[in-house]
Amino acid sequence: MNRLTCLLLCILAAARPAFANDAAIAVSDDTREAYTQAIPALAETDRAKFLKGRALVRQVWVIPPSENREIAGLGPLYNRLSCIACHPANGHGFAPESAAEPMRAMLVRLSVPGKDPHGGPLPHAAYGGQLNENGVPGVTGEGRTEVHYRTHTVSLSGGEMVKLRQPEFRFVDLAYGDFPASMMTSSRIGSPIFGLGLLEAVPEGTLVALAAVGKPAGIKGKVNYVWDAELKKSVPGRFGWKANMPNLRQQIAGAMVGDLGITSPLFPQENCMLVQSDCAKSPSDGKPELSAAQLDATEFYHFALAAPQPRNNGDKQVKRGAVLFGKAQCAACHVPELKTGEFAKYPALSNRTIHPYTDLLLHDMGEALADHRPDYLANGREWRTPPLWGIGLAQKIEARAGFLHDGRARSLLEAVLWHGGEGAGSTQAVKDMTAADRNALIDFLESL
């Protein structure tokens, strides 16, 4: 066993309480603006770039042609009008409450069996890789998703009952014909966008080591290897619900073109498939619509967004919850502490100690959460461990914030109870806890 593995095992076993992040890269802010703050280490000379990026993330985009070319480019097909529509206040998206409500902070990825030339999902010939519900005037939206729920109740020790809702998705008003039986769909709510620069700064070697290290209770974890469109090679994935994006730049550019229909230097083609002739004919504004400088600023904004510091970590109940978090093996995947390496893209993030509560790895989460849609090396049951930092503020910032990939969980306890597969042991441990212990565990999560 090498020294790094030893160190990692120590981290996994220690069930660390919510230690503060390095003060230069995190903020003590428990307000509804907590996810929008710059790292304290942001240099005054970088402030204008940060604000420029912020303006772009907050921008409601304009359908071209427009005299405001710097903010024009929405569509021809799109899901929402702005980044913050799905990431309200930079935070969590949410699922519709019923079939009557459209997806407002959520989308559906599509693919058919097979792989694209780089090993990624194979888009459908007519609908592409994502269902775009809206089109600009003259372009028909691709269709709508209705979310129906089936509920069931889970019993916990002590007699507590928790109602869980399982979503079912129906696709209606499909503009290019019914989906084939082989169509694979995967619904995703918007994820928080703060602290991501720090996660990009975690060295590849750490991810590989985290995957390699032995873990308790059948927990594994693997790195997804995905296509880097700039480097033209496979690299570890670390962003997105399936870790299917290699870095923030590609994540941003991918969301811009996929969700908003805004082209960029990285993805210069509009999101029209060959059969979508009205889409192809629709005017574009600027080539690309998001300039390289704008993409730089947006990327920089993401790099410099701080994570909130944990709160109340001196509280007895929170401390007890932290211990229970470790005992239930939650920390085996939601790794409390990581260290960033040298990060040339934004050196202020280099060599920082962070507490994101993620390993950025893929884990089998069981059948109930499976989408049965492979994404590079992620199979249909595997999901990336989402970071937990700041999660206690999620519903203060957006009252409807949902948890898990499709926002089915309306509370942190519901989210825990959905864990299956490698997380099944942890779920059972939480079910078996006394109500007081469960409350302490939730208080701990709320403190992050």
């Binding site: 603006e33 402030r47 304009v62 529509a85 009557a100 005037p137």
Partner: protein, 425 residues
């Protein structure tokens, strides 16, 4: 057969409800996402038969869009009063044939809705001062109670003022002072405050950011930037001056509306109790125009109708809107382009006032400092206003003349003040 029908009915009842087909209501707006999201969700929840299709455009771009061939738009819903006035003049809007009971057309002396009924205010923002209490305390400065408070030399370096030619909401703010105090006194106050201030432009940052972080102690701004930041936890306060200015936002229905019922339903919704109360949301914090909803306002929320009962002045919206570009150009000439000189000049005058308050030359210095290239009557001249809307070589030539004259007057004011203060110019 009867049994079969009952069974079929029972089956239909047990099936999960399918969403009915929806009709789109096309709305053009420049509201930020937070406002759009709140209204969209509440409207579509109440009226699931409709889906809003938002076309987002800035004010000038909207007019370009509407003047080109385009797909029909149902509703115009935005803070852009001049566009509404122009569209009504062009005959593009329908008279609003919805129930407007309980919606006054004025807040005190401030006209907020179209007297002819083509568009109606659905919210308003108020102008005032955001301040950082801890920073003011640290500096030993009092909380400002009116715009005039900020002219005190003690505020020097601790104020931020938006530039009206750069910041969308600032022209009305400036005009509020010009109408509230009168043309000459209004410019005097603006110049003195600006001499104490840094100037914010559109590309910089929100004033509430600067004040919110304590980098600057006080900012002239619109209430909702600050009040929303306060509601979301920023350590700020906001105070309305004695003469509150308002910037109403409106809603109107286009004659070309393809979904007239949907348009009426949406307009009625935003004006209803339910729609008006959405304005209290921490992410919005605009002022409702339906007085009745203030009975359930969040604690400390400003009630413009109550304030107008205590103090009011007549504000002529048409005057303010028509001279907007000219006033912004004048602000740039008097303040933006001369900012360093302005600061030096007012610093010298303040020194002179301290050194020799009864020196007769002081008035001379003040006269030069307050010199204006235009009277109010000249500023209200439609032909001159048009020159600043269209802008051509004549505008540039006029501005060059202003620059030279203003520089000359400021130089003379500075020279006289320094002479009084006993310093060499």
């Amino acid at each position: 057969m009867k049994t079969a029908n009952w069974m079929l009915a029972l089956c239909l009842l047990l099936l999960p409800p399918l969403a009915a087909a929806t009709e789109k209501v096309v709305v053009i707006t420049s509201y930020p996402q937070e406002v759009i999201s709140q209204f969209e969700a509440a409207f579509e929840k109440k009226y699931p038969q409709y889906r809003l299709e938002i076309l987002w455009r800035q004010s000038r771009d909207t007019m370009n869009y509407l003047h080109q061939p385009h797909s029909p738009v149902d509703v115009y819903w935005t803070p852009a009063q001049r566009n509404f006035a122009q569209l009504a003049k062009e005959g593009a809007l329908r008279k609003l044939d919805i129930d407007l009971t309980g919606l006054p057309k004025r807040i005190g002396g401030f006209q907020i809705s179209d007297p002819d009924g083509y568009y109606v205010a659905h919210e308003t923002a108020g102008y005032g001062m955001a301040y950082h209490p801890a920073e003011l305390q640290r500096l030993g400065l009092p909380v400002p109670i009116d715009w005039k408070s900020l002219t005190a030399p003690a505020y020097s370096g601790h104020v931020v003022v938006p530039i009206p030619s750069k910041v969308g909401y600032a022209p009305m703010l400036v005009d509020t002072l010009l109408q509230g105090y009168g043309w000459e006194q209004g410019w005097d106050i603006l110049a003195r405050v600006a001499a104490n201030a840094s100037l914010a432009d559109a590309g910089a940052t929100f004033i509430s950011d600067d004040v919110g972080s304590g980098r600057v102690a006080v900012g002239m701004t619109m209430d909702f930037f600050a009040v929303s930041a306060i509601a979301n936890g920023k350590p700020l306060r906001f105070t309305y001056p004695v003469r509150v200015g308002y910037s109403p936002a409106h809603i109107g229905i286009f004659k070309e509306a393809a979904n007239l019922n949907g348009a009426r339903t949406f307009a009625s919704f935003v004006l209803s109790d339910e729609g008006q109360k959405l304005l209290f949301h921490p992410d919005i914090r605009k002022l409702p125009v339906r007085p009745a909803v203030y009975a359930r306002k969040p604690e400390g929320y400003f009630d413009p109708f109550a304030a107008a009962r205590l103090a009011s002045y007549d504000y002529d919206v048409a005057t303010g809107l028509s001279r907007q570009e000219l006033v912004s150009a004048l602000f740039d000439a008097l303040i933006t382009r001369q900012h360093a000189v302005l600061k030096t000049m007012w610093s010298a005058i303040h020194q002179a006032e301290q050194r020799a308050p009864n020196d007769p030359r002081l008035q001379q210095a003040r006269n030069h400092a307050n010199w204006l290239p235009l009277t109010a009557a000249q500023a209200n001249d439609a032909a001159r206003q048009q020159l600043f809307i269209q802008r051509d070589s004549r505008t540039e030539s006029l501005e060059q003349q202003w620059n030279a004259d203003i520089a000359n007057h400021y130089a003379q004011a500075t020279r006289i003040a320094l002479a009084i203060a006993g310093e060499k110019p």
